[in-house]
């Protein structure tokens, strides 16, 4: 599995156009997330933008594999299809973890530098952000395995628009500040739901991968 993770890392970060896309996205969002003194942007950044970036780790490897029809060659390597899919999920989780680490750093800056939110509010936002990133990863990965790169990306954009719409609607209808007062139990439940979805997503993706490549 290590070889496949390495390959996907290479596809993401060592191919100039793909690396450039990450650098562009990072430069556009991360400095703003750290510098802007706004609890609304902080929520948007921690709960939506970073989780979405974390879910991108499969797009470029899928694109590169489709271009070279690499999946057929991959099937001749001494790894099972379940291991191939699991390797891709591990990389997805790692990239989500990195994004959530950025979100935590941003939270600390908002708490101790900008004083826009309290520590407990920041941690609540962070927890919701983690669960969103797990749910997003679960949906997007099934989308890519099922639909391939092109339609998988359309699905990615669709889910992104849906999440943005939910964010917008909740801002208008209930006030996004409601997130600050979510109970820790509810946030733990959301995290658990995210983890369960991820496990189910991995099983579904293994079945889809076997079905598509047999």
């Amino acid at each position: 599995m290590k070889g496949i993770i390495l390959k996907d890392l290479y596809d993401n970060f060592c191919i100039p156009k793909n690396a450039a896309a990450y650098i562009f996205a990072g430069l556009l969002t991360i400095p703003v997330g750290f510098l802007v003194r706004s609890e609304y942007y902080y929520i948007l950044f921690s709960m939506i933008i970073l989780p979405l970036i974390g879910g991108c780790a499969l797009e470029y490897p899928t694109e590169q594999e489709e271009r070279a029809n690499f999946t057929r060659l991959l099937a001749t390597f001494p790894v099972s299809m379940a291991q191939i899919v699991t390797a891709k999920y591990i990389l997805g989780l790692c990239s989500a973890a990195v994004c959530n680490l950025f979100a935590l750093m941003c939270a600390m800056i908002q708490v101790y530098v900008h004083h826009t939110v309290s520590l407990s509010e920041a941690l609540r936002i962070w927890g919701v952000g983690i669960s969103i990133s797990l749910i997003f990863l679960s949906l997007i990965y099934v989308g890519y395995f099922l639909l391939g790169r092109r339609w998988g990306t359309v699905f990615f954009i669709g889910v992104t628009i849906l999440i943005a719409a939910v964010y917008g609607a909740s801002t208008v209808l209930v006030g996004i500040e409601a997130v600050f007062s979510l109970s820790p139990v509810l946030i733990l439940c959301l995290l658990l739901a995210g983890a369960v979805m991820l496990v189910l997503s991995r099983f579904a993706s293994v079945r889809i991968y076997k079905w598509k490549n047999s």
């Binding site: 390495l6 590169q64 057929r72 060659l73 790894v79």
Partner: protein, 287 residues
């Protein structure tokens, strides 16, 4: 271990095509050429052997191991090169080696670097800047660096010029110098098989028409140009296929030696693998 591949009654059914009950054995230390027209089932057979596609079979044993229960172990000891599936063109050879070193337990990085040097492949150049021949050589370097015992090539040399193909054939000859190794090679370029194959397996419309040694084909198959009288005198059992021409018949016979004894003044041309293929596909059969 006597056989690199043993297949008994392998079938694969699609909506519009069936690979039908293929059984064959590939002895160690030999090269088997898999021939057949486009769509005959060669790639389907290779995919089934590698479990890339689901299939039904009584037994598939590769390098003495059962495909159902020991697939991963089998794949540690085989190498496969396809014409339509390759390493990402954004890879560099050095990265491909690093990735494969994490995939194969037997990976020998030094051997890989030696192959890169021998084939004149720059290690840090992206594959998209390589010529087609260089890319195929890289595939061979990658395939041979984990000490495989079985090499499977699916049209791997198509699109290469004769010089590079000849270099590839040299690599294959070198590979099979060791008795415990074998090659299964599907190719449309039958002249390559004439140079290297010990066995020929012919798949036609999903069925295995024959598996014979190359020497057997050379000694027994031949082409006769004859008139109606001689054509009628030939035993149908000796005729694989024939083509009726304006004033004569071209007949592919399967028992050249016997016919030479029976018709002492007859001229029988040697049949190449390409001739045999063309007769089976385009020729008429005696019912």
């Amino acid at each position: 271990m006597d056989y690199a591949i043993q297949v008994k009654n392998l079938s694969k059914t699609y909506k519009d095509f069936k690979l039908d009950n293929i059984s064959l054995d590939l002895p160690c230390g030999t090269v088997m050429g898999l021939i057949g027209e486009n769509g005959a089932g060669k790639s389907t057979f290779i995919n089934a052997l590698l479990n890339i596609t689901d299939s039904q079979y009584d037994q598939v044993t590769i390098l003495g191991r059962d495909l159902r229960t020991q697939e991963t172990l089998i794949k540690e000891d085989i190498a496969v090169i396809f014409s339509d599936s390759h390493y990402d063109l954004d890879f560099t050879p050095i990265f491909a080696g690093k990735m494969l070193s994490m995939i194969y337990k037997n990976w020998d990085q030094q051997k890989y670097l030696d192959y890169l040097e021998r084939f004149g492949l720059p290690p840090k150049k992206r594959l998209k800047k390589f010529s087609t021949g260089m890319r195929v050589k890289l595939e061979f370097a990658a395939a041979l660096s984990h000490d495989p015992k079985l090499l499977i090539l699916d049209e791997a040399t198509s699109g290469l010029d004769p010089v590079v193909r000849n270099e590839i054939l040299d690599i294959l000859r070198e590979f099979t110098e060791e008795e415990d190794r074998a090659v299964l090679m599907s190719s449309h370029i039958t002249s390559d098989l004439d140079k290297i194959a010990d066995y020929i397996a012919y798949i036609h419309e999903g069925k295995l028409l024959f598996v014979r040694t190359y020497d057997d084909l050379q000694n027994n198959y031949g082409i006769i140009n004859c008139g109606r009288q001689l054509f009628d005198a030939l035993s149908p059992d000796d005729i694989a296929a024939y083509k009726k021409e304006a004033y004569s018949y071209r007949v592919l016979v399967t028992n050249k030696q016997k016919l030479k004894r029976v018709f002492s003044d007859i001229h029988i041309e040697n049949a190449s693998i390409e001739d045999i293929m063309l007769f089976y596909i385009k020729g008429e059969k005696i019912r």
